[in-house]
């Protein structure tokens, strides 16, 4: 009896029609595609993209060359050299990140005692040759200066959860 019912069902194409109903319904649903250059997916304030070095409002760079980020970096992507500046403070002479090694884990940002090294929302950046993978102190500070407002707003938004 059951096999007979299966037989009738298969001849009436019941399951095929059910499948057609599903795709037919999806034909009239909104498509989820974003038109990339014009539309961009929203990002979380915690997004971990390209790095930046921040400054204090008075223009002094935050980094004190404590090398915690260099120590914590699991991919050994950060290289720091330091010296004593004329005013007696310790500062970096070299702060380099190898973007090919970096895994964008955000540990450097978490370890930083002065909130100097951060990861910004910049997620598409290009290099024209392989040697451009290493970004130095000047470039990092430049990025930090350019996006300071965004970076500060993101930290403030995430502060209650830290």
């Amino acid at each position: 009896m059951r096999s007979l019912r299966e037989y009738v069902r298969s001849f009436l194409l019941v399951e095929l029609l059910q499948g057609l109903r599903v795709t037919g319904r999806h034909l009239f649903k909104r498509s989820v595609t974003l038109e990339f250059p014009e539309e961009v997916a929203p990002k979380s304030p915690r997004f971990r993209g390209l790095h930046a070095l921040r400054r204090y409002p008075n223009g002094e760079e935050r980094c004190i060359a404590c090398k915690l980020c260099e120590a914590v970096c699991p991919a050994l992507a950060i290289t720091i050299d330091s010296h004593q500046r004329a005013d007696g403070t310790r500062r970096t002479t070299r702060y380099e990140i190898d973007l090919f090694k970096c895994i964008y884990c955000g540990f450097c940002e978490e370890s930083c005692p002065v909130d100097s090294i951060v990861e910004t929302r910049i997620d598409w950046h290009l290099m024209e040759s392989r040697d451009q993978r290493i970004i130095g102190k000047e470039r990092l500070l430049e990025i930090g200066d350019q996006y300071e407002a965004q970076i500060a707003a993101d930290r403030a938004a995430d502060a209650p959860y830290r």
């Binding site: 037919g24 999806h26 498509s31 595609t33």
Partner: protein, 337 residues
Amino acid sequence: MFETLFWTFSKIWAVLIPLFIGVAYFTYFERRVIGHMQDRRGPNRVGYKGLLQPFADALKLLFKEITVPTHANRVLFLLAPALSIGPAVAVWAVIPFADGWVVADINAGLLYILAMTSLGVYGIIVAGWASNSKYALLGTLRASAQVVSYEIAMGFALVGVLMAAGTMNLSGIVEAQAGPFWNWFWLPLLPLFLVYWISGVAETNRAPFDVAEGESEIVAGFHVEYSGMAFAVFFLAEYANMILICVIAAIMFLGGWYSPFHGLPVLGPALDWVPGIVWLLLKACFFAFCYLWFRATFPRYRYDQIMRLGWKVLIPVTVVWLVVLTVLIYAGVGPWF
């Protein structure tokens, strides 16, 4: 003499140019419709809503090099696309688009269609053989076996139409269905209609019967080695055949150029101003949409399942229904016989 020649040529072009434009936009609508069924958008960059996409594709293929594999049989390799497109285009000669709108009004139109659609498989066989590639050869074997077995089911389904209409002339078949939509042959021949449509999809090697192309198993089947315009010609032939199957389904089972309310008291005369070709194309568009709908819905059949369905399900169903049909005709049932 020259006058008839001139008029025949004009008629041929009047059929072919819209056909090729139809093929171009069929590919566009395929990508759009399947895209939306999968919650995507499909091509929408070239021209307004991507409407110029088919021309961009054609232009791209036109400028590409036609490569011939080293150990391929050069003559057969280049002949195959022509063998494929020739029959696909030739069939259109007997298709009546409206009352009297037909290039060649021959009495054995149905036989001519069956003959031409069978010839199309030679293009595939020659292409697969001449490519000297194992994928192409496997695709060819599958395609030819599939087309040959489904042709029987399709032929039987059309025999039912032939019995019901009593003529092989396509215009005659349409005229035998004159009347509102319940007068058309889809109702008394419902099982044959389904069998025809399923074997039509299988005959054109489309999803879910696309093992001949099977891009996930044998790359692209018989046309792996083809590029540029040679590939485009295969593509053109495949889509022309698909549109043909749609149009024949409309002619054989859905009353061709008749409006669904033909002969009814109020609606019939109210819709008389619509030219017949519009109704035919509307019906064909429905089937064309079904092609895309099936492709977006059904997973590919396994090869042995295709053979089982063709030989052990569809052919017995048609044979049984032909017997039933004979009884119906002798009893003179309904408005049809």
